[in-house]
């Protein structure tokens, strides 16, 4: 009797406790989501509200050029692409502020037609079909990652010039027959910069352990092995592979630690996997440098005191004294603290300059001209072609200087940007 009374008192207390802070918590949680919501929405519409005003004021008779964009705004890949959407809109705004794309004396305002690739090959096919069939677009930016598998055939068949953000090196994405396929970033050059930075700032490193997400890795493997050799390093043991969907990365960290490498190199993956492995490695007491593509504030935020001994590439920050001017401008257009992946925006930037160089809006003419170019401006500075032999196409894949930073004890130190080696 006494016990049941006690239990019921406890229950009442629990429920009271549940209701009061829950209400407060809910209210507050709601507040925070709503406060974060407006920032999101204000960040979203600004380009659209800004764009019409610029057309009205500066160039009332400016014609528009619609450029298609495929990004995965829903499901798992939206972790990357939702951010890309915001940035590519800013780049479009940037181009329009500079007077649009100039072709044969006329200026064209860029209007992006963004379609959702739904993080699946099917979704990307649908998006590509929508852009090609319904909107009849001639220029498309995206998609990223391996989704080009689905879109390349559609674009090629319809002679649409498509600039992939980056790709998964699958021959079906880009080969000697896909003559309308361009690539904003040869993914191997990024990693070349990572290894070069590692060698530069940690000269004692002789071998690296390679840890990668397993799905796209097979296509990259031979190139990565060649890259390690070209950089003058050796691989410690065999590459360690893990599934993207793993929950717990500690076993992987333990496996890497067991190889006892001088440094750890994680070329492919998404932020949660990088962070999980670094956390695991540092907990295990691994002291060597770790290199992977980072966004410095995210790394410091997510890793806390584990954020040490990290050679980071691709972090774009306003504080970086070496930052390229167009990238700085892009950063300052929105919240400068945001995570800029800068892949799709860069592809659009390249496309703009290629169209202007060709001085034509015919994708075939642009393609023929683009194949003769050996330098184009990118958001990261001067771009150059890379991987001509690898892709079997002349000057279709591009590369650019790569931002580098060192993170130690949660502090970020920016280093001069590294010019990656050209992939054969």
């Amino acid at each position: 009797m006494k016990k049941t009374a006690w239990v019921s008192v406890l229950m009442v207390l629990m429920i009271l406790l549940a209701v009061v802070p829950a209400l407060a918590g809910c209210g507050k949680a709601e507040e925070t989501t709503t406060t974060s919501a407006p920032t999101q929405t204000t960040a979203g519409p600004t380009p659209t509200t800004a764009a019409p005003s610029s057309t009205e004021t500066t160039t009332a008779q400016m014609e528009t050029l619609q450029i298609g964009v495929i990004l995965s705004l829903t499901d798992w890949f939206s972790v990357v692409d939702a951010a890309e959407k915001m940035d590519i809109e800013y780049v479009a705004q940037m181009i329009n502020e500079d007077g649009g794309i100039k072709v044969q004396g006329k200026s064209y305002k860029v209007e992006l037609v963004i379609e959702d690739g739904k993080s699946s090959l099917d979704g990307n096919t649908a998006a590509a079909n929508k852009l090609v069939l319904d909107k009849k677009l001639k220029f498309v930016v995206g998609p990223g990652a391996f989704f080009n598998l689905a879109t390349t055939p559609i674009f090629e068949q319809n002679k649409v010039l498509h600039v992939a953000n980056y790709n998964g090196l699958n021959p079906a994405e880009m080969n000697k027959d896909t003559r309308y396929a361009f690539l904003g970033l040869d993914p191997i050059t990024q990693q070349s910069a990572a290894l070069k930075a590692l060698k530069l700032y940690y000269p004692n490193v002789k071998n690296v352990a390679l840890a990668s997400e397993d799905a796209t890795f097979p296509a990259f493997e031979p190139h990565f092995r060649a890259l390690v050799e070209r950089t003058g390093l050796t691989l410690a043991g065999e590459p360690i592979l893990y599934a993207t969907q793993a929950e717990d990365y500690n076993p992987i960290a333990a496996k890497i630690k067991a190889l006892n490498p001088d440094a750890v190199w994680m070329p492919i993956g998404i932020d949660p996997t990088y962070f999980g492995i670094v956390k695991g490695l540092r907990t295990l007491g691994y002291q060597g440098p770790i290199t992977f593509p980072v966004d410095a504030p995210s790394v410091v935020g997510a890793l806390g005191d584990s954020a040490t001994g990290i050679v980071g590439i691709l972090s774009k920050q306003v504080e970086d004294p070496y930052i390229a001017a167009p990238m700085k401008r892009l950063l300052l257009m929105g919240d400068p603290k945001r995570h800029v992946f800068g892949l799709a925006p860069n592809a659009l930037y390249l496309l703009k300059h290629a169209i202007e160089a060709a001085d034509s809006l015919d994708p075939t003419v642009v393609r023929d001209k683009w194949e003769t170019l050996t330098s184009l401006p990118t958001l990261y500075g001067d771009g150059f072609p890379s991987g001509n032999q690898l892709y079997g196409l002349p000057n279709h894949a591009w590369a650019h200087p790569i931002p580098v930073c060192l993170i130690n004890d949660g502090k970020v130190e920016y280093k001069p940007w590294i010019l990656p080696d050209v992939t054969p």
Partner: protein
């Protein structure tokens, strides 16, 4: 409202549409408007490419045809009382059985598509065997893990299956989309006809009897295991066939399209349309796939809210799905009609 649904559910529970007798006499007089609507729809869809050729809506309609068949094939399995959560995996088996020889051996699509369908049927039937002793929720969960295993095997398949990124470069059947349209449309008509035939045949009645009570069915000499395996084999044939054609149409096969998420959405199509009606899957696909694609695609990242809202509305207001509600309404109207004509002749 409440009494209407009550009457309707008892109708459905006790008198399956296939039951002979009074019901046939009733439906015969009612069948003509239904048939003419159906005929009209087929005619419109057959002529549609003339109008929308080369537009994005062609793509949506082709997808719709695929998913109508796949959702219907799930329902065929379900009429034997099996809540199968592996239909996406059967579709995946068909797709990969077609994609792998097409990509690596460059076999003609005309060989790989039948191969895909046959592979799915065989695997489906073989796998159905150990599962035939599982019933109700245990069957559902068993097949859920079966689907999970199949997807995991595909994902772990190394270079052959392209792992979680999928296989690209599957050879296309045609270069013109209009041909795909007619192929998908024709396949849909033939498949639906086969399924209709099965459901309202003696075998279909047996399957429904097993669904109602496997003990009663056994007592009148209906082999439970045999009929259940048959249902799965039949369903997986169409799922595999459509999976194979689908991957040739898309040019890619990726495990994402056949996983648990995809399977659950296929089931949602059927539940939204109405699991107790032959036309439920088609209506459900129209509701959940066509409507969001046609009218709400521009919402992009917010699109899932629309589908979630549709699901909630259906779950709250139409326990038997859309077709169930329509049926309840027409029943009510016709009953009142008849009551007016022949007073006192209430059913």
């Amino acid at each position: 409202m409440s009494d209407m649904t009550e009457i309707d559910t008892t109708d459905i529970r006790l008198v399956p549409e296939s039951a002979v007798g009074q019901e046939v006499a009733q439906t015969k007089s009612r069948r003509w408007p239904g048939l003419s609507v159906l005929g009209g729809l087929v005619l419109v869809l057959a002529l549609l490419p003339l109008g929308i050729s080369g537009s994005y809506y062609m793509h949506v309609l082709i997808l719709t045809f695929f998913y109508v068949v796949i959702a219907s094939s799930w329902r065929v399995v379900s009429i034997s009382g099996q809540f199968n959560i592996a239909i996406g995996a059967f579709m995946g088996i068909g797709a990969y059985a077609a994609a792998i020889p097409s990509v690596w051996l460059h076999w003609s699509p005309w060989v790989t598509i039948p191969l895909g369908a046959v592979a799915a049927t065989i695997v489906g039937a073989l796998l159905a065997y150990p599962f035939a002793r599982l019933r109700t929720i245990y069957y559902a969960m068993g097949t859920l893990f079966l689907g999970y295993v199949v997807i995991n095997l595909i994902t772990a398949g190394g270079k052959t299956t392209g792992m979680s990124t999928g296989l690209g470069g599957v050879e296309p059947l045609f270069s013109d989309r209009t041909y795909y349209y007619y192929l998908a449309f024709g396949l849909m008509l033939v498949s639906l006809a086969c399924m209709y035939r099965l459901e309202f045949s003696r075998i279909g009645v047996r399957m429904k009897a097993i669904a109602q009570s496997h003990q009663v069915a056994a007592s009148v000499g209906i082999g439970e295991r045999r009929n259940r395996i048959l249902a799965v084999a039949f369903g997986s044939f169409f799922a595999g066939l459509m999976g194979a054609v689908y991957c040739h149409y898309q040019g890619v096969a990726s495990p994402n399209s056949y996983g648990l998420g995809a399977t659950l959405w296929i089931i949602m199509y059927v539940l939204v349309g109405g699991i107790n009606s032959f036309w439920g899957p088609a209506v459900g696909v129209g509701m959940l796939l066509v409507i969001p694609e046609f009218f709400f695609r521009d919402l992009k990242g917010n699109l899932p809210y629309v589908t979630a809202a549709i699901l909630l509305i259906i779950a709250f207001t139409m326990p038997e799905g859309i077709v169930g509600l329509l049926k309840a309404i027409t029943d009510r109207v016709s009953r009142r009609f008849r009551r007016g004509e022949v007073s006192g002749d209430a059913p």
